[in-house]
C-alpha cells in the first residue's frame, strides 16, 4: 500500500509516497509540485540582470545563488578572452558573506527544524526554542549586510569584484555582531568555548556538555540514528573556496572531479507530478553538503564519527553542527584580513562585448550549486541551475535510488521522515 505524506516547512513543500512492508519503508518516491521557471525567466535578459534575478531563486540561500551567478559570468568573460582577476579584498568579502549565509542557514536548521523534529521523533514533551534560531540567524544576517547591503536578496557582486567599499568602521561593526553571535553559540548551543569545541576529536567529548548540542547528540543516539539513514557513502564537493576541498569520495577514497561530468535526469514520481530533476555525476548519485565537505576536507571529528557510524543520519547531522562551529571560526579569520585600502572592483569589458559560455560553482549551505550560462552579445541565451537538493533528494526507480531514497529504506515511516530532513531540504531551490 502506498501512503502519501506532505512534508512542510522545507522552504515550501514536498510530498513523499511511501511503499511500506511490515511497518518498514520498502521504497519511497518524492515529488516537488511547485515550479517557477527561473531559467526561462532569465532567457533574453541582460546577463548582469542575472545578479538581481537569481538571488530570488531562494529566500534562505539567495546569496549562494548570487555568487554562483557572478562566477558564471566571470567564467564567460574568461572564455571570451578577458580573464578577471579579483582583488584580495573582493575575494575575502565574497567569501565572508557566503560563509555568513551558511551560518545563518545552519542556525535556522538546528533550532527551527532539527530540535523540533527530534522532539517529535522521541515523543517527549521537551520545549523547543525555535526563536533562538531566528535570533542567531538575524545576527549572522547583520554581519553579512555590513558588506552586502541587505539580506535576504543581496546583490552586491559584479564581474570584477564587489560593489561595497567599506571602511574599517563597517569591518569593526561586523566583527562586533560576529562576536555576539559566537558568544550566543558558546553559551546556548555548545555549552563550552568555540576553541574547546573545535579541539574535540571524538563525539564522546560532548558527553560532558550541558547544552542544546548535547541534547541533540544524545537524542540522536537514543533514537538509533547512528545506525540508520545510510545513503551510498559517496560524497561530492565541487565549489572552490577557502573552506572547501573539491573532490568526490567513495567511502574514504578521494577521486578527482570535473564539473563537466555533472548531469541531470528526469525524476521518477509515479504517484504525483513533480518538477524536480535529479543531479548525478556520470551515472552515480552522490551526497553533497556539510558531511561531504567535512569528509573531503578531513575534519578529524567527522572522520572519526564516520569511521564508527559511516554516513548515518547521526553523521550527517553532526557534520552540519561541526561545520557551523568551524565556519564561525573561519569567518572571524576572514574578517581580520579585509583591507579597506584595496580596490573593491576592477571593471571588466562592457558585458555587451561578451559572447561565451560560463559556469559558476559554489558550495551553498546544502552543497554543490551550479549555474551555467550562455551569453550572446551580453544577453542571456540559456541559463541552467543545478541545486544541492537535486543531488540529495532526487527521486528515481527502485533499481537506482537516490541518496535520500536509499537512506529511508528499512526504517519506520516516522524515522524516514526525520531522516529526510537530516539532508536539510530546500523545496524552492529544487524546482526553481
Amino acid at each position: 500500500m502506498i501512503t502519501r505524506e506532505l512534508i512542510e516547512q522545507i522552504e515550501g513543500e514536498a510530498s513523499v509516497s511511501f511503499e511500506m512492508k511490515r511497518d518498514k519503508v520498502n521504497f519511497a518516491t518524492i515529488a516537488f509540485p511547485h515550479f517557477r521557471g527561473m531559467e526561462r525567466i532569465l532567457q533574453g535578459k541582460s546577463a548582469l540582470d542575472a545578479l538581481v534575478i537569481t538571488p530570488r531563486v531562494c529566500g534562505i540561500c539567495g546569496h549562494a545563488h548570487l555568487m554562483a551567478s557572478v562566477r558564471a559570468l566571470e567564467s564567460a568573460y574568461a572564455h571570451a578572452g578577458h580573464a578577471i582577476c579579483l582583488s584580495h579584498k573582493a575575494q575575502t568579502i565574497r567569501e565572508f558573506t557566503l560563509v555568513m549565509e551558511m551560518i545563518q542557514n545552519h542556525f535556522k536548521w538546528f533550532y527551527l527544524t532539527l530540535i523540533p523534529e527530534l522532539i517529535k521523533l522521541r515523543r517527549t514533551s521537551k520545549n523547543s526554542t525555535p526563536l533562538k534560531g531566528a535570533f542567531a540567524a538575524s545576527l549572522a544576517s547583520k554581519t553579512l549586510a555590513s558588506f552586502a547591503g541587505q539580506w535576504p536578496h543581496s546583490s552586491y557582486m559584479l564581474p570584477g569584484g564587489v560593489t561595497c567599499d567599506p571602511t574599517h568602521m563597517e569591518r569593526i561593526k561586523s566583527q562586533g555582531y560576529l562576536k555576539e553571535l559566537i558568544h550566543f553559540f558558546e553559551t546556548e548551543t555548545l555549552g563550552t568555548t568555540l576553541q574547546n569545541f573545535l579541539s574535540f576529536e571524538s563525539c564522546k567529548e560532548m558527553n560532558a556538555l550541558q547544552s542544546d548540542i548535547s541534547y541533540v547528540e544524545q537524542a540522536l543516539l537514543a533514537s538509533g540514528m547512528h545506525q540508520k539513514g545510510f545513503a551510498y557513502d559517496r560524497f561530492i564537493v565541487l565549489g572552490e573556496h577557502s573552506f572547501s576541498t573539491p573532490s568526490k569520495m567513495k567511502q574514504t577514497r578521494p577521486f578527482l572531479v570535473e564539473s563537466k561530468y555533472v548531469r541531470v535526469k528526469e525524476s521518477y514520481s509515479p504517484q504525483e507530478q513533480t518538477y524536480a530533476k535529479n543531479a548525478l555525476y556520470k551515472n552515480d548519485y552522490y551526497e553533497t553538503g556539510p558531511l561531504a565537505r567535512a569528509m573531503t576536507a578531513h575534519v578529524p571529528i567527522i572522520r572519526n564519527i564516520h569511521r564508527r557510524f559511516k554516513d548515518s543520519a547521526y553523521s550527517r547531522v553532526m557534520a552540519r553542527i561541526v561545520e557551523l562551529a568551524s565556519l564561525l571560526q573561519h569567518a572571524t579569520e576572514l574578517l581580520k584580513v579585509v583591507d579597506p585600502t584595496e580596490t573593491s572592483l576592477v571593471a571588466p569589458e562592457p558585458i555587451h562585448t561578451i559572447t561565451a559560455e560560463g559556469i559558476g560553482i559554489v558550495e551553498a549551505p546544502r552543497g554543490v550549486l551550479m549555474h551555467k550560462v550562455s551569453i550572446v552579445s551580453g544577453v542571456i541565451h540559456r541559463y541552467e541551475i543545478i541545486t544541492p537538493t537535486q543531488w540529495n533528494i532526487g527521486s528515481d526507480t527502485k533499481i537506482d535510488p537516490t541518496p535520500v531514497q536509499q537512506a529511508m529504506i528499512d526504517v519506520t515511516k516516522e524515522e524516514a521522515l526525520f531522516i529526510f530532513r537530516t539532508f536539510d531540504v530546500c523545496s524552492v531551490c529544487t524546482t526553481h
Binding site: 515550501g12 539567495g62 527551527l112 523547543s128 538575524s138 546583490s155 573593491s344
Partner: protein, 301 residues
C-alpha cells in the same frame, strides 16, 4: 478599520508562487519574540504553528489576519487544493489581509512564471484586477522584494494597537511608503551636485545618472530605517532596483536609460524642465572635495 478582540488574534501565513524571501526577511525582525507573543500562529512556513499546512489547506479554520506571500497564480495547487479556494476561505473571516512583498502586492518577480494569469492580490502591476478586488478594503500591500521586516512589524503592531493605518493609492501604508529610497542615501551630496559614480565599487558618486539607480523614483523607507539595521543597497554600492514599485522587475538593472544623456525618469514629482535647469547649473561648478576620493588613506608622515 481596526481589530478588537479579547483573545490573541490568529494569524495565518499563506504562500503563492514564492522564493520564501519574505518569510526569511520577517525572521530578522528585532522585536520578533514580543510580536509573536501577541499572536496565535495558525500556520507559518517556518515557525511552530497551531496547525499543519495539511490541516489548514482543508479550509476548516478561521483567522483574523492573513499574510500572503508570493504571486497569486489561480491554477496553483497546494496540497492538491486550489490556492484560490484556500485564500478565499480564510479571507472571509479575516479582518486584514497583508500582501507581504512585491509578488503578492503587484505580481512582482514571479508574475513572469505565468504572465497571462499571475498577479498580486488586488493589483496586476498597476491595474486593479487581482482576485481580492471584491474585498480590497481589507488588503494592505507591503511591497518590496523582499519585504522589510520592520514594515510587517509596524503593520502587525498597528493592528494590535487598534491604530488606523492610512494607505496610499496602491494600498501601502503612507508612513512607510511616502519616503523615497533616496531619503537617507549617503550619496545625496553627489546627487545634489550632479557628480556621478565613475564606476562600481566606490563609495563616492551618485548611482542615478549611469548605474540605473531608481531611488529618487521609488517609495520605500530603506535608507531611513536601513536593512538588517545596518546598511542598504545604495550604501553597499548597488543601485536601488525599485523593488517596491508595481513595475518591478524592470530590465537592465545596472544601466540608466537616458535620452540625449539625460535620465529618462527624473526624480518623482519634479518636472523635467526644473530638473534640467538645476542639473545644468549644478554641473557648472567644480567641487574638488567631491571629485576626489572621500577618504585619503595615504599617510601624512
Amino acid at each position: 478599520m481596526h481589530l478588537k478582540t479579547d483573545s490573541k488574534p490568529t494569524l495565518l501565513w499563506l504562500q503563492g508562487v514564492t522564493c520564501n524571501g519574505n518569510t526569511h526577511s520577517f525572521l530578522n525582525l528585532s522585536s520578533l519574540v514580543d510580536l509573536l507573543a501577541s499572536y496565535e500562529l495558525l500556520y507559518h512556513p517556518s515557525l511552530p504553528s497551531l496547525q499543519t499546512f495539511e490541516n489548514v489547506s482543508t479550509c476548516k479554520f478561521k483567522c483574523d489576519i492573513v499574510v500572503f506571500e508570493g504571486t497569486f497564480d489561480p491554477l496553483l495547487q497546494l496540497n492538491n487544493i486550489s490556492v484560490h479556494r484556500i485564500l478565499k476561505h480564510y479571507v472571509q473571516s479575516a479582518k486584514y489581509v497583508i500582501a507581504a512583498g512585491s509578488c503578492a502586492s503587484f505580481g512582482g518577480m514571479f508574475k513572469a512564471s505565468a504572465p497571462e494569469r499571475n498577479s498580486g492580490l488586488i493589483f496586476n502591476e498597476m491595474l486593479q484586477e487581482g482576485p481580492l478586488l471584491y474585498c480590497k478594503e481589507k488588503v494592505i500591500n507591503l511591497s518590496g522584494c523582499p519585504i522589510h521586516p520592520e514594515w510587517l512589524g509596524y503593520t502587525l503592531s498597528m493592528i494590535l494597537e487598534g491604530e488606523e493605518i492610512i494607505l496610499d493609492s496602491y494600498h501601502r501604508p503612507v508612513e512607510l511608503y511616502s519616503y523615497l529610497a533616496h531619503h537617507g542615501c549617503t550619496r545625496n551630496e553627489y546627487f545634489e551636485w550632479k557628480i556621478d559614480s565613475k564606476m562600481f565599487g566606490e563609495k563616492e558618486g551618485c548611482l542615478y545618472y549611469e548605474q540605473g539607480c531608481r531611488a529618487p523614483m521609488t517609495h520605500a523607507s530603506c535608507n531611513k530605517i536601513l536593512w538588517n539595521e545596518i546598511s542598504s543597497k545604495t550604501r553597499s554600492g548597488m543601485p536601488c532596483f525599485g523593488c517596491t514599485e508595481p513595475d518591478f522587475p524592470r530590465a537592465d538593472f545596472f544601466t540608466t536609460k537616458t535620452n540625449m544623456s539625460i535620465p529618462e525618469d527624473v526624480p518623482l514629482g519634479v518636472s523635467k524642465r526644473s530638473y534640467l535647469t538645476v542639473a545644468g547649473i549644478a554641473k557648472t561648478f567644480h567641487i574638488k572635495r567631491l571629485e576626489g576620493k572621500l577618504i585619503d588613506y595615504k599617510r601624512t608622515d
